[in-house]
């Protein structure tokens, strides 16, 4: 019953979604909204699981004096300190908002900015001409790079149009093919779950 009950719930939820998405009366009943609300409520409880996991792991690091254990103290202090602060004054409160705007947002931006350097190093590896595919990649990248910068059209008139064509025709075509394939794949996965053939989300090797 440990696996059967979740399986039955999964199939029932799937049928409710189909009924409320495609059928007029299903839509009018608003069952999707009800399911969404149930998910929201049950997933809110799962926040506790996240907090318990964080505390358990980092408390263990502190207790065992694992390398960098003082970082775990900072993490736990921030977790509970910010939690208490937002309960006291809501997330829009002066101190809570100040911390968010002046510490968390710049931190996020710093991490995001790192991507520029990672792109450079990944591009260097990818553009080393070793195979036919890498050569095509390099040629396309050079055309698009120069075509999107003013220098492209300054060198050869119409270079920008070639770059736009690469982006709009082969690139968009390829991406759309991937999206269509992925949509069919997602459907087949959903159908396997509805048939009870795929049970990966219930634990173990994942199949019946």
């Amino acid at each position: 019953m440990r696996k059967e009950l979740p399986m039955i719930l999964t199939v029932l939820s799937g049928l409710v979604v189909i009924f409320s998405r495609y059928f007029h009366y299903g839509m009018q009943l608003g069952l999707m909204d009800t399911l969404d609300k149930w998910y929201l409520v049950s997933s809110s409880f799962a926040i506790l699981l996240g907090i318990v996991n964080l505390v358990k792991i980092h408390w263990g690091y502190i207790r065992r004096r694992k390398e960098g254990w003082w970082n775990s103290i900072v993490l736990l202090l921030c977790l509970f300190g910010y939690g208490i602060l937002t309960v006291q004054q809501t997330v829009d409160g002066p101190q809570a908002a100040w911390i968010f705007n002046n510490i968390i947002t710049p931190g996020d931006s710093t991490m995001f900015a790192l991507i520029a350097f990672f792109i450079a190093s990944a591009a260097y590896r990818a553009f080393r001409v070793r195979t036919k595919e890498a050569t095509v990649l390099l040629v396309a990248a050079v055309i698009v790079l120069l075509g999107k910068a003013p220098i492209g059209d300054a060198l050869i008139n119409g270079w920008g149009n070639v770059a736009d064509w690469i982006l709009k025709v082969p690139n968009t075509g390829g991406f759309r093919a991937i999206i269509i394939g992925a949509a069919v794949g997602a459907f087949a996965t959903g159908f396997r779950i509805l048939l009870g053939l795929e049970r990966a989300h219930l634990g173990g090797s994942g199949t019946k």
């Binding site: 059928f23 358990k56 996020d108 991490m111 990818a126 999206i179 996965t189 779950i193 199949t207």
Partner: protein, 271 residues
């Protein structure tokens, strides 16, 4: 008022507006997959499916980590349980966890979603149980790091530098953090297998990882890895459904080019 009442009128008295064709297409796809599954169940021959290198390499990656005595890292990305890519990742995780349990290799599994964390912990626990190594399961290695994208990315980067995994497996829904993970893992010398249907992140994975599963390939994983004929059958059905969509696109393209006004296929699909 009258217009609103007209708009809400059900199509054929049953279907929601604009959903009839979608429903029929869903039934067609379901029939194709079901037909192939039934054939496989009856023991009839199911056509071969092509080899997916990224999936074949999973054993190699975990074997390499075992030989080096270093851990394996698995992330399902930032997607929640509502994301089909996360569901696809569950199948991989079960397989990876079972192999890690078998070879006694440490598996570090990081999460950015607390619901996914709970499911992943159960999947890994069950996989260790199935492998006959429940004692080797360490719940501390299934970690929730943060539900904030870049806080999670920073945490994973730190883990890469500290634990130096020999294999990095990334399957699921990824956004801008994809390249941060892939490049940092590359710096520590990890063999990398990635897969996503997020088209914006695929170029990053293809350039930075050793193997990349593109789009639909991630949805084939659990069926492919199970080697069960019935599930293989569903994969063949998936391919036939794709051929059906391709034929539909082809017909639509021909009509769009030769029919000057209106496209009857588009009108049917909008019903």
């Amino acid at each position: 008022m009258l217009l609103a009442a007209e708009a809400a009128k059900p199509y054929l008295g049953v279907f929601a507006e604009g959903k009839f064709a979608q429903f029929v297409l869903m039934l067609v796809f379901a029939f194709i997959v079901w037909f192939m599954v039934t054939r496989a169940k009856a023991g009839m021959k199911v056509p071969e499916i092509r080899k997916i290198n990224g999936l074949e390499a999973l054993d190699e990656a975990i074997g390499r980590a075992t030989e080096m005595g270093r851990p394996v890292h698995f992330t399902p990305g930032l997607g929640g349980v509502g994301n089909p890519m996360t569901f696809a990742a569950f199948g991989f995780l079960g397989y990876v966890a079972k192999l890690c349990a078998k070879y006694d290799t440490r598996l570090i599994q990081t999460n950015a979603d607390y619901v996914v964390l709970a499911i992943n912990e159960e999947i890994i626990r069950q996989a260790y149980l199935e492998a006959g190594r429940p004692d080797a399961f360490n719940s501390d290695d299934v970690q929730f790091m943060s539900d904030q994208q870049f806080a999670y990315a920073a945490n994973v980067m730190n883990m890469f530098q500290k634990d130096k995994p020999a294999a990095n497996i990334m399957m699921g829904a990824f956004w801008a953090e994809s390249l941060i993970f892939a490049e940092t893992a590359s710096f520590v010398g990890a063999i990398q297998i990635a897969g996503t249907a997020a088209t914006a992140q695929l170029p990053f994975f293809i350039t930075a990882c050793d193997y990349t599963l593109i789009g639909e390939e991630i949805y084939a994983a659990s069926a492919y890895l199970s080697k069960e004929p019935v599930l293989y059958g569903s994969l063949v059905g998936q391919d036939w459904a794709k051929i059906f969509v391709f034929a539909l696109i082809l017909v639509g393209t021909v009509i769009a080019n030769f029919q000057a006004k209106g496209n009857w296929l588009t009108s049917i699909l909008k019903k």
